[in-house]
């Protein structure tokens, strides 16, 4: 059983941590794409969401429900039409190294011309850290994600799972407050996916960051999340309900509490998808 991280006791220790915060909050966030055009789409309507520091939060929903939109808003890639996103009282106005994203499409997210270690160093080198320091830290984080033996390989030489490990290391090396993951394992085969989920839980417990994890896979959400937010279908989506799961890790989908939550979540999702089917 894990508890929210208490303080900055990260092993790497890069001096003082950023201001402590308690809650990542979306308040009444609405966003419409292509407003006023023929292909106008209202993605979110008065969406409200609270994520606590240190939490593993899964956002679950059918495709097109706006869960990636929420991630892009928290990352600062998008700005809401109305409402606001705050880390405590600090409003999120753009991208920052305190909120790093792990993307599903690793081939495009990693720099194909950089070796695995250079990709991990990338963010540090942008800050102008001395080469020796950033290399040392990169190796440390490659080791954390189990990629130390492949440090000199280019992304195209890595398997799908390894690429995601590399992305994970590249994000964690910056010691972000929030790790944003956009269906990171959806393109992996079933076995690799299972291994990566276990690895992610291990890393999260060791590193104690806050994770916001986007998925459309009910099983995955229940195996990973301490809290699972289920989204309404789009357009004009918002949070439908939340399931709290205090079960310890590693979890198994056949555990009683998990299985019960599965039935609950599945029914809730089916309602949404069913409503979509009837609407057409």
């Amino acid at each position: 059983m894990t508890k929210p991280a208490s303080d900055g006791d990260r092993s790497a220790g890069r001096g003082a941590r950023r201001i402590d915060w308690r809650v990542l909050a979306l308040d009444d966030v609405s966003l419409t794409f292509n407003a006023g055009k023929a292909n106008e789409y209202r993605a979110l309507r008065n969406a409200t969401l609270r994520i606590e520091r240190g939490e593993f939060y899964c956002l679950l929903g059918p495709s097109g429900c706006g869960k990636s939109t929420i991630l892009n808003l928290v990352a600062g890639f998008l700005r809401p039409d109305s409402g606001a996103i705050h880390l405590d009282d600090r409003e999120i106005l753009g991208p920052g190294t305190d909120r790093v994203v792990v993307f599903q499409d690793a081939s495009n997210a990693l720099m194909p011309w950089l070796r695995a270690s250079e990709n991990v160093e990338f963010g540090l080198s942008l800050q102008g850290l001395p080469k020796a320091t950033s290399t040392k830290r990169a190796i440390q984080y490659l080791d954390l994600v189990g990629l130390a033996d492949h440090a000199r390989k280019f992304p195209y030489e890595l398997s799908g799972g390894m690429k995601q490990r590399c992305q994970l290391a590249r994000a964690l090396v910056l010691e972000p407050q929030v790790l944003l993951m956009d269906e990171p394992f959806a393109a992996l085969d079933a076995i690799t996916k299972r291994i990566m989920q276990k690895e992610l839980v291990r890393i999260w417990r060791q590193y104690r960051t806050t994770v916001v994890y986007i998925t459309h896979d009910v099983e995955e959400a229940l195996l990973l999340g301490q809290r699972i937010g289920i989204m309404k279908r789009g357009p004009g989506s918002s949070l439908k309900r939340e399931i709290v799961l205090a079960e310890p890790y590693p979890r198994n989908i056949t555990d009683r509490a998990i299985a019960a939550a599965y039935v609950e979540a599945e029914a809730s999702l089916e309602e949404e998808v069913g409503a979509t089917l009837h609407a057409h």
Binding site: A75, T97, A109, L126, Y156, L174
Partner: protein, 260 residues
């Protein structure tokens, strides 16, 4: 990266065979024509070429043409990459410049030769201008295309990793555009060679184009052929050097870029 010796042999022999076919076709054509003064045979051409090599005249012209090509080419590449990157990165500039580019693009460098002579005289400057013009248009287009095709996810990744706008350009966008830029540079090198001859044919006192034109007044088709062969060899040689240099220094940017 080991290549089997047998494959090297066969590849080299096919190259030689290809050149031999070209020379024999030329020889056959010359014999068919029957008038050596109109179509000199390869052997005749090589003999004159050898003579011109030995007395240094050929090298003088080659050096002059090559210098003009390189100056115009390098300047055109630098300007084209800068302008193309600006167009690709700043949407307003891109949208503003694109119609201009579409209007200017069909104007062949050759069409600008008379004008450039009036503007810049018959010296090197007018040649630089023609080659610069030929190169810069291609480089603007290929750089802008490469820059705008950088995957959105890669840009977003760099943004959340803390890249400033300048770091974004230098560390993400330009490396992503390398394949497109280098393809443009290779095409532009060919155009630079076409441009130099056009520029030297009309008003020049030196260079390979001048050599060809001057031979016309003397009815020396053999010297013309020496000029043509020299152009061919020079172009192929430079292209080969370009390929090797790219392979040596830019390999990591060329391979496995999944964009486009």
């Amino acid at each position: 990266m080991r290549i089997e010796p047998r494959r090297i042999v066969s590849r080299a022999s096919i190259t030689l065979l290809s050149i031999a076919i070209l020379i024999f076709a030329w020889a056959g054509f010359s014999r068919m024509f029957g008038i050596p003064d109109l179509v000199p045979s390869p052997w005749q051409t090589f003999a004159v070429g050898r003579e011109m090599l030995l007395n240094g005249t050929l090298m003088t012209h080659v050096a002059i043409s090559l210098e003009r090509v390189l100056v115009g080419y390098i300047a055109g590449c630098i300007a084209g990459i800068v302008i193309g990157a600006l167009m690709g990165r700043i949407p307003l500039i891109g949208r503003l410049a694109d119609p201009m580019l579409q209007l200017v693009r069909p104007i062949s460098p050759v069409a600008l030769v008379p004008l450039s002579i009036i503007w810049f005289g018959i010296g090197d400057l007018s040649k630089y201008f023609i080659i610069f013009y030929a190169v810069v248009i291609i480089m603007i287009i290929s750089t802008a295309a490469g820059v705008t095709s950088t995957p959105m996810i890669r840009l977003n990744a760099a943004r959340c990793l803390g890249a400033s706008p300048w770091q974004m350009l230098r560390r993400v966008v330009l490396p992503s555009a390398v394949p497109s830029i280098l393809t443009g540079m290779r095409v532009a090198l060919g155009f630079a060679f076409m441009g130099i001859v056009a520029a030297e044919l009309i008003a020049a006192q030196s260079g390979i184009g001048y050599l060809i034109m001057q031979s016309r007044t003397l009815l020396r088709t053999d010297i013309m052929f020496v000029g043509l062969v020299t152009l061919g060899i020079l172009g192929a040689l430079l292209d080969g050097c370009f390929k090797v240099a790219v392979d040596r220094t830019m390999r990591r940017y060329m391979e496995h870029q999944v964009n486009v």
